[in-house]
Structure formats: C-alpha cells, structure tokens
Symmetry: D2
Subunit: 343 residues, 4 copies
C-alpha cells in the first residue's frame, strides 16, 4: 500500500486525492496547502486525512512514499527537489517545471536516488489518445503530414505563466506521445490583451527534420470552448474532438493520390480519395485513475513511467523555445539536440 | 445596359455569367476560354451568347463595356491591363494580381483612364460579413482583440499558387473590410506535402500597431470542411461559421472585466462575464448578385467600388509578405507603409 | 431517344426538366403549365423547348413518349389517366394519387396498355437510402425493432393536402422500400393551427404483424429544420440525418443482449453493448438523375420500376388510413389486406 | 435545522444526500437501504451518517423531520404513507405514485396532518425550464401551438415500469409546469421489444380543450442520446436541448402570419416570418440544490411546494391514461375532470 502525500488542494488536487483514495494500492495520508479553507474542505470530504500547512510534514513522514505536486508551476522545482532529496517518489502536475534546466536537475536527482519522477500529462492516459496512438503505431494513417490542435475557451487567466504553459502543454504532451519525433525548431506568435499579464492567445508552429508540421492554437479569451485536433496522414486522417460526448475520435478514409509525373509541376495530377468514416469505441476509464495505477506500478516495479521526466522535459523545452519566439514575433528558434531522449 | 465580356469559364466563370445575365442593368455578350468544351457548355446553357477563344474579340467589341476576369492568377495582370488599355471597366477574380507591383500598375492604369477596377472579394457582399461589419462599426464588440479564422477542407490543389493565395485571400479580404486597419508585419509558417507543389497548409499571423492580432489557418488537405472565424472584442465576441445553414453569425455577450490594481501582476483580478448569445437574421441574397449590381452601379455612376484596386492590392501585399515569411519558417516580415490607402 | 412532356413547372417541375434534358436517352419536348410566367421562365432557360397551356398538346404529340406530372395532388389522377389513355408512359410526382381508389385505377390502366407507371419517390434513389437498404438486406442490423423519422421545418403550408400527404409521404416511401413489410394498422394524431386549413403537424404510428413499430413526425411550423431517421435493430442501429453535409448515414454497433431467464421479469438481465460507429461513403449522384435513367430504362426494356404503381398505392393507402385515424384522435385504423402487392 | 432521512441509496439517493448535506437549513441524519454494500458506500462518503436497513428507524427517530424517498415506484405509496402517518414531511422521487388512486390518498394524508408532500420533478428547478416558463408567462411566445419532446437513449431497462413512467414523466412534469393546462385526452402507442418486459419505446399525444397539442417520444433502445423539446407559439418558438453545454434554450423569432380571407381555404395567404435567434443566459445552479432549498422553505413556512402532490398526481393521471391507450394501440382515452386542481 503506497502512502501518498498531496501538496496543493486547489483545482486539480482534489482529483488526485480522490483517485489515489479510490484505486487499489495507494492511500492518501496527508494533504498540504497554504490556505486553511482548502484544508478544511479536504477534511470535510475525507475525515480520515491528515491536513497541514507545512510541506515539511510530508517530507518527514515515513508513511508517505510518494508526493503528488499540484501547485503553481514556479513551485514545482523546489517542491519536487525537496521530495526527491527526502527519498520520496514524485508525481508533478504539468508542466514538469518552469524551465528545461530545472527539469534536467529533477531528472538527475531522481535517477541518482532510483526514484520515480513522473509528470501528470493526463491526456496520455485517456482512451481517446491511446486509441489514436494505436492507430498511428499500426500505420492506419500512413506517413504523418501534420498535427493541428485548437484548445480555446473563456478560461482562467493565470498570473505566472502564459497560455502556452497552461493549455498548449496538453497538446504538446499528446503530440510528443503519438508522433514519436521531436521538433527541430519552433515559431510562435501571440498577444497579451491585459496589461502586465502574460499572453492570453498564442499560435505555435513546430518544425521537424522531416516532411511534417505541427501547429497549436491556444486562447483564454474565446467565446466558445473548442478542443479539436486534426491529424493528417497520407492514408487516413483523424479528427479528435474532446468535447464530443461519444464519438471523440473519427477516422476518415480520405486523402490524395498522385498520378503523372511527380517532377513536373503541371503534369502531376492530384486526385482526391473519399471513403468511409469510422469512430472506434473508446475506453472510458477516467484518465487520472489509469494514471494513478500506472504511477503505483512504476513505484512498485521500478518500471519507467510512460510520462517520465524526459517526456516532461521535452515538452518544457518546446514551451521555452516557443516563449522565446513569441517575444520576437515568430522568429524561428532552433531546439538544441542531444539531451532530450533517455540514455 | 452594360455589356459584359467574361474571360475564363472554369469553376467561377459560370457564376459570373449567370449573375450578370440575371440582374437588371447588364448583359453578357461574349464568353472567352481556351477550352472548346467549356465554350460549348456555355453555349448550351445560353444559346444567345457569343463564344470565342480569342481574348482580342472582347477587347475589340464596342458592345462590351466591361470585362470580368476569372482565369488563373498569373494571367490577371496581362488580361486586366489589356482590358483597361482597350477602355473596358474590369472586375478581377481574387486575388487581384500575382504581386503588389502588378496590382499597383493596374490601379494606375485604371485611374489614368477613369475606369472602374474592382476585385471580386465575394465574401464582402454576403449578408453575414455585412452584418459583422455593422456590429463592429456600431461598437457592439467594443475594442477588437483578435481575429481568428480557419478555412480548411480536402480541396483542389492548385499548381500556380499556394494555399494562402487560394484560401487565405478570402479571410484577408474579410478582415481588411471589417477591421479597417492594416498589419504592420506578418509571420507565416506552412508546408508543401507534395513534392514540387506549392504549400498546401499554412498558418499566418498578422501584427498591427495596436493591441490586436489576426491569425489565418488554411489547408487543402483536411478531412473535414471548416469555415470558422472568431472575432474577440472587449465587450462581445463573434463566432461566424459559414457552414451553418441558418445561424451563421453568433454574437456572445461574454468577456472579461478587470478589477484591482492593473499595475500589479498579482493584485489584478480578471473576472469573467457570460451573458446571452444572439444570432441576428441575415440577408440571404446571393453575394455575387449584390456584387454584380454594385459593379454596374460603380460603372454607371463613377462611384468607387467597395472592393476597389487599393483593397485588392492591400490583400496581395499581405499575401506577398506571408509567402516571404513562410519561406523563412515564420521570420517576421515588415509591411512597407505609405501606398496602401487611396490618395 | 425518349420524348418527354412535363406538366407542371412550379417547384419540382424545373428539376424534372433539367434531369430529363441532361441524361442520355431522353429529351424534353414540351412543358405545360397554366401560368404564363412559368412557361416564359422555362423558355428562357431552354429556348429549344415547346411551351403550352394546353395539356392536350402533350397527349396529341406523337414525339412525346412519356409524361412527367408535377402538379397539385388532386390533379394527378385525371392527368395520369388521360396520359395513359393516350398511350404515354407516366411518371407521377408523390403522392401517386389523392386516394387508393384512384391509385388502383391508374395501375389497372397502365397494366392494360403495357405502359410504365412510376411514382416519383425521389428518396429511394439517393445514395443514403440505397446504402441503408443494402445494410438491412445483408442483415447488418439484425432483426428490425423500430423505424422513427422526424421531418419538420417552417415550411410551405399546402391548401389541398395536410402535412402527412406533403411530408410523411417521403418517409413512408423510404420505410416501404427498406422494411419490406406493410403495416396492419395505423394510429395518427395531429392538429391544424390555422383555421380552415389542413393539419400542419401530425404524428403517425404504423403497427405491423410482427414485433416492429414505425413512427413519423411531420410539422410545417417548426423553428428548426430536422430530417432525422433512426432505425433500430437487435444487432445494430442507424441514424440517418439528411442535413449532414457528409456523414448522412451513421451505423452504430450498439444494442442490448439478454441473459438469465427470459420468462421471468425479474431474472432477465438486459445488458448494453456499445461498439464502434461507422459512416459509410455514399454515392452522391443526384437522386433525380438516377431516377430519370431508371424510368427511361423501364420504358425501353419493359422492366417494372422500383417505385411502380403498387408502391405508390401502398403509400397512399397508409396516408388515407392515417387521415382517418387523425380525424378520430388516434383511434387505430386497420389496413385491409390483399391488393397491395403485385400479382 | 431540518433533519432528513433518505430511503433508497441507488442511482438518485446519493444526489439527495449530497444536496441536503450541503445546503444550509438541513442535515441528513440517516440513510436507509436494503443493500448492505450501498449503506457501506454511504458511510464511506459521510462517516457521520447513521445507516440502517430498517425503515422503521427513520419513522421512529424524532430528529428526523422529513423523509426523502428514492426507491422503486411501486414502493412510493407504502413508504410515503407510513412517513406521513409518522408525522414526517415527504419528498418523493418521480413519479409520485404507481396510480392516481395512490396519489390521491397521499395528498389527503398529507393535508389531514398539515404536512408537506412534494414530488421530485427535478427539471422544474433547472435554470432552463424556469427561463422557458418566464418566457411563456411574459407572452414572448404568444399563443402556444404545440409542445414536442424527444427523450431517447440506450438506457437502463426497468422491470417494474414502462418507458413512459421512467422517461416521459420528466417531460410531462415540464409541460404541466409551463403550459398551465391539463389534457382532456391522450393517445399513446409503443412496443416492448423484449419478451415479458415493459414497453421500451412509446409515443404519447396529449389533446387539450383548446388549439394546442403535445407529443412525447421516449425510447430506451436508441443509438444516440437526444433530449430535445420544441415549443411552438404564434409569436416565437423555442428549441430546448438539454445536452447543449451552453446554449440549452434557443428562442426563434419565427412563425407565420396570415393574410387574406381566413374563411376561404384558397384565399388565405400564409406568410413566413424569420427573424433573430436568441439564447438567454441561464442560471446554472444545480436543480436539486434549488429544489432542496425550496423543500426546506416549504416545511419551515407552510408554503405549498411548486411541485406539490396535486402536480405529481396530475402527471400520474396522464401516465395512467397513456398506459391504457398504449394497450389499445392508440385508442384515445379521456381524462376525467374535477379533482386535479387544488381546492
């Protein structure tokens, strides 16, 4: 039975507590938050919980094997490092850290101690994303052409991070999982409409070494909620709409075929192929439940998590480069090579 | 009764012929095309038409007062210049020309001779776009924050122009009409997935001198057809979906209000306001009919067209800069000032 | 080359003329209408057409082999009978006749003379309905449970027929085609909201001798346009939405399975099965074109039309019984047996 | 502080417990269920609760002022009568009772003792239905023409009641609330597709003494979930889609206007009016929370509940008549007069 401490009981913390409470193999021991009313709320729902304002209490408690961190991004690094140094396994809310340098230190600290470091890229554990991954892995889409996502709504403006770090992080984590390739450069544009606040709308393009492009549109100030991803391949294409109640993933047997002379602009014929559409049945297990079970298994068996520190660091690295490009109105920023895959 | 010659009877030409045939005040005299089977088709529908493969026949015919050009983009300039030199008023398919230099020469040629030069930015004449313009002009949206459009489908790959010049031209013309400001710079990314062919997917950001941003997503290789524009203001926001059968324009009484200290990142409170949604009744007259009548009126009265040469040139200038930026993976390209508004 | 006369050039007549003009194997010779402006309109589009106000001219013209009737329902019988007596093949707008007695006489008259009598049940010739028929015929749905259709909009009130005869006729013709069974009784309710006018909203249930039920909801006074049919089977279910631009037919691998003791109310377990959804690619040929070619082929080869007089009469018989039931607030009306299938 | 006992902790009971726990003015004392694992579940979530298998414990407990009943329909009557006789106020899950006779006895028992008897017609307390009621009361729709609802899905087959008593009860309660008139007769059709089980699909028409008609379509065996109600008036029409995430209620400024001679079938002109659509902002408070507060207030002040016993009995009376008509394939069944309104 894994003893869990949760730090941060705001929007996401209650979901972590509920899932680690409900699954077999773990038990939440203590919840830590700086706000008394949040602690009182946690206690009301789970009278057996310990509550504390002191993070130290989690680190010092030998009954706590692992700490789940659901606090503002800027605190991920110090809280995770302290946990790792105290010998605790760590699950960190997305994004893993506020910079790739922080992320690298976290990875190193976990490796040195043989501890699990996992980032809470929740979407990777949904039935929809796992089905898409399966379809891409079995070559249903053929060669991938593009990845295009829109994640917009009238949302909570954040003070400490811009909309990329809040929303695009989801889509970057999904793309990283299913595309299995890392961008070589990014170009990003966007704008802050509220003075002294971070950018609330952004458009990010990722370039790759091969014939593939990815684009991410995120916005905190949209009148309608949209969660739509289109993935184009040379054999089939997918539309993934996370707001659809039942058919979230639609696979289109559509595309182009080429005839004639490919070396001649004018003699090449582009033909269109339009076939059936298919919406596969998806596993509806709550993603965070699947993720909690995976975390427990990784701790128990030493297995490397699907969303390990390297995965988290890769996404942070793209966000970092995107913010640089954003500050320069889209100037492309190269991503340095070499460290982003696990040794 | 205005005598009309139409050159190019491919996809769009038949619509021009039909509308100039049906409205009061004009009559199509001759249709010109290089393809015999297209001419035969025109003759079958309108036995009274003259047909010809020789553009010269249109220029030399004194019964033809105006020429409508619906041919590939690269031919717009020579065909329009010949028409203007022959003293004919000209309506040119979008985009006006293949370069801003060409566009400027066309404007000058028309001005020198006192002829009407109009570009066929069809969407400007739809009930939906005119209603949006009215809402923005009467300040229903307040200060504009952003313009975001998506125009994608599995579409006809073009050989001579990339997807920006084929699809984004529509959205740039709409934005130019309703926003009444010109971008100071652009950043554009995209990709050609078919070897030796123009880019089939592109993402274009327009920057302005004020706190406003515009973005355009166009794609010839998408599994679903999307025609959606979101316009955010500080009072209200619009979602314009051209594929909706009845409620194409939805006005959302939603937004944010700011409280607290705007100079402090942490003391500023962003509140969310969510009110009614409203879909105004729209004029359903076919846009091209309204446009044909406007063209006739401009010729008859000397009035400057809503979509005159300057408008067409401004859009071409953005497309030109966008293509430059696209070739450099999003590097921002400044738009030179000074000539884009009418003297 | 089949010579065609068309009587009635209102809403539907122009579609008949266009299709019989365009397909190989037929030519429209004459259009007949009582309204001069409609005839002028026909002449404007097709200068080669003869136009007349005298139906006699069609009957007397030996170049006319077949007559297509697109006039108000009450005139179908006299116009068709005159045509058959003059030795012309006949295609009649739906519904075939204003009563089953009329329909039977028309069938007899055609049979006696060896002429083709076909009813214009257009939907039978759509790609969507033919695909549904194919799925049912190859047992993809298993045993059929129910047929449920909704056809409502803010529509043209008719003076001479109620909403059943105007709208439900479409759905009854589709059901007749794909279900291959005839109702044994009907119950129908509805209301006329405008004084002295026919019923503008109606709800019709058809009962069958087996474990199957069909229901039809039609309304001329609805704020939104809905064209939706649901067909439930014990293996799969179909949702057919005629307003969907691309995926009109969706096949759901959903249903129930039964376990336990079927003879015990309380020991029977009803389990739910939820699998993939699939939207087959559909033939997009215009239905009326397919239908026109089929009519020509039937005339030329003596083949019995898919939508022959018996089919038309069966639908009229249901409409007749439905109107009787409607007048008695849903009292069930039995359908007499014996004559509705072809000898 | 009102002490509440809840009997039945299956699907709906937990919602009752949660809301009576969370609102001010009430506290859940004891939960009663026959199933040990359900009681254990209740105790796990609310360790302070008393749990029992003996309904007697609720009746005998003087700390319990009111009992909320969320058990199978057939048990509503005995459980409610026992509660009333024990001097407890009662809130009963819909439908109020299994017959109108039972309902009348419950009303009488409550009246004699001056106790509150309320039926849990939850939808009446939603923001959507209260907004529709407001629009009808202020005559925004004009004279009502029709009420049409569809409530279908692949749902839980019930053993003891047919689909009308499970699903149509919701729509009948909404109609009763907003229309403020009672049907004079009903006609109902339907079918049981599983042997020995109740009807799983039904179509119910309600007739009124005036020019208004209502229809209800319910189905446990549909491939897609639909929750749509259309309300037609002579000034405006409403589409209420409960599955829409944000714009659940849409008001259409559409309809017909009549010109010419209303006494002549052929001289009357029906014109169509099509104006704006408007989706009012709705109160998003959880309905059951509003309802719990209303129940508490009624108990405390002696006020008659919005959904009192008479309301519940009226709906039961319609269900009863509908089941009679259903057994006779739609034969109209008159509703007796006189007792359905409060003295």
């Amino acid at each position: 039975m894994l003893g869990i401490g949760v730090v941060g009981y705001g929007y996401w913390g209650p979901n972590l507590v509920r899932n680690f409470m409900e699954v077999d193999g773990s038990q939440v021991i203590t919840v830590c938050d700086l706000r008394g009313e949040r602690l009182a709320e946690a206690k009301r729902r789970y009278p057996s919980l310990h509550i504390t304002r002191e993070y130290r209490d989690l680190l010092d408690n030998p009954a706590i094997d692992a700490i789940a961190i659901a606090t503002p991004v800027s605190t991920h690094f110090p809280l995770a490092m302290a946990a790792l140094r105290a010998g605790k396994h760590v699950l960190v809310e997305k994004p893993l850290a506020a910079s790739s340098e922080e992320a690298e230190q976290m990875i190193e600290a976990a490796e040195q101690r043989g501890l699990v470091l996992m980032v809470d890229h929740t979407f990777i554990y949904t039935g929809a994303v796992r089905k898409i991954k399966e379809l891409i892995d079995n070559n249903s889409l053929g060669q991938l052409y593009y990845y295009d996502s829109v994640r917009i709504n009238l949302g909570l403006f954040q003070h400490d991070i811009n909309v990329l770090w809040d929303l695009a992080v989801h889509d970057l984590s999904i793309m990283d999982f299913i595309v299995q390739a890392q961008p070589s450069a990014v170009s990003c544009t966007g704008m802050a409409h509220v003075r002294n606040q971070p950018e609330n709308v952004a458009y990010l393009t990722c370039f790759f070494d091969h014939n593939f492009i990815a684009h991410f549109h995120v916005n905190w100030l949209a009148p309608a909620k949209i969660r739509q991803t289109i993935i184009g391949g040379d054999r089939r294409m997918i539309v993934y709409d996370d707001l659809e109640p039942s058919e979230k993933v639609k696979v289109y047997d559509k595309g182009i075929t080429l005839n004639g002379n490919p070396d001649s602009v004018y003699q090449l014929l582009v033909n269109y192929r339009s076939g059936d559409m298919w919406a596969p049945q998806l596993d509806r297990t709550e993603a965070l439940r699947t993720e909690a079970l995976h975390f427990i298994e990784c701790v128990n068996t030493g297995q490397t998590p699907l969303t390990n520190g390297f995965v988290g660091a890769r996404v942070v690295r793209i966000l970092e480069a995107a913010s640089q490009s954003l500050a320069q109105r889209g100037r492309p920023v190269e991503l340095r090579e070499g460290w982003l895959t696990q040794a």
